[in-house]
């Protein structure tokens, strides 16, 4: 990698670094999805079309729990709603129109937003975005397929601790935000509490949707969750500071 440091420009190197690291969690998704009850094809199509880890894991979790698929889909879409916000910001930074924007939209996720936003110059923004998107998309889909195919030959995924990977991913995504202030912590604890308290009474998938009510606690006046979230490139998490720092020049 040292050699690359000398020859590849920083925005592209950042993108490649995050792409390789995060793309590998696609292995966990592929295995989780098939273990949950999806076919290999369904896991692969979801990664190709959705390309947003949190939403995909959320849907897989509902499938695994035998929950209501409509609620599961809605929950996955609500999680994907933050990408719209990244899109609002990235659109201006990238300055692409027409067909390019239609293709680029698919790459608007936590990691590309995290890597891209520190750059101010449009050439650098575009280079960082394109390399992160390309690497991550390739890795995510490749590793989803590998994980999905391997799931059948892995006797018991639970013996390998695969079921701990999902929550660990969500925690790593949430982590950078938790240190931002009491308001964020309150929203997180409320969300978790609402979901746990309603789980025994409602079909799987619905409790996660109800947790959105907790977000209202972070929406009031002087909400520090919104303001500080804007300040960091990680936005609603993604690679987060840990990841960005790791790949900084």
């Amino acid at each position: 990698m040292k050699l690359y440091n000398l020859t590849i420009s920083p925005p592209i190197r950042d993108g490649l670094g995050v792409g390789l690291a995060v793309g590998l969690s696609g292995l966990a998704f592929g295995t989780t999805a098939v273990t949950a009850g999806m076919s290999v094809a369904q896991a692969c199509v979801l990664s190709l079309l959705c390309f947003s880890g949190a939403s995909q894991f959320a849907l897989a979790a509902v499938v695994a729990g035998g929950g209501d698929l409509a609620a599961g889909t809605l929950g996955a879409l609500l999680l994907g709603g933050r990408n719209a916000l990244y899109g609002l910001r990235l659109s201006g930074e990238l300055g692409w129109r027409g067909g390019r924007r239609i293709v680029a939209a698919h790459g608007v996720i936590d990691e590309t937003a995290a890597i891209t936003l520190p750059y101010r110059e449009q050439t650098a923004v575009r280079a960082a975005f394109t390399s992160t998107f390309a690497t991550l998309y390739l890795m995510w889909n490749l590793t989803t397929a590998l994980g999905a195919l391997a799931a059948d030959s892995i006797g018991s995924p639970e013996a390998l601790g695969i079921d701990a990977v999902g929550p660990a991913i969500f925690l790593a995504l949430l982590w950078p935000r938790l240190t931002e202030g009491r308001r964020v912590m309150l929203v997180a604890l409320l969300g978790a509490g609402i979901a746990l308290a309603t789980t025994p009474w409602l079909p799987p998938g619905v409790p996660v949707l109800l947790a959105v009510v907790a977000a209202l606690a972070g929406t009031g006046e002087r909400g520090d969750s919104g303001e500080t979230g804007e300040a960091g490139p990680g936005g609603a998490a993604g690679a987060g500071p840990t990841q960005s720092r790791e790949v900084r020049p």
């Binding site: 995060v22 590998l24 969690s25 966990a28 199509v45 979801l46 079309l49 949190a54 939403s55 959320a58 979790a61 698929l69 929950g75 996955a76 609500l78 994907g80 933050r82 990408n83 719209a84 916000l85 899109g87 609002l88 659109s91 924007r101 939209a105 698919h106 601790g161 079921d163 701990a164 990977v165 999902g166 929550p167 660990a168 991913i169 925690l171 790593a172 995504l173 949430l174 982590w175 929203v187 997180a188 409320l190 969300g191 978790a192 979901a195 746990l196 025994p200 996660v208 947790a211 907790a214 977000a215 972070g218 929406t219 909400g223 969750s225 919104g226 979230g229 609603a236 998490a237 840990t242």
Partner: protein
Amino acid sequence: MNLWIAVIATGLGCYLLKLAGMAAPRGLVDRPLVRRFVLATPIALLAALIALQTLAQGQELVLDVARLGGLAAAVLTLLLRAPFLVVLIAAALTTAVLRAVGVG
């Protein structure tokens, strides 16, 4: 709902959300209430998912010590500022080892 429909609806819906953000008028993001709610939503959802995937099995609340140990390992590695991948491996490995020695 058929699982294929859920897969395709989730996939297309997620893409359309991204596109909506890219194509939306810039003024929308300047509304503080909209921005705060959209930013707070994933926090609530992620926390709910962590809680349920750690402590729930279907509609039942369970205390799976091995899984809790995996999450504890994730917290520890996050505190140590470990890279994303290390956090995931630590969680899986801890849960696997705890199960191998008969815990949970």
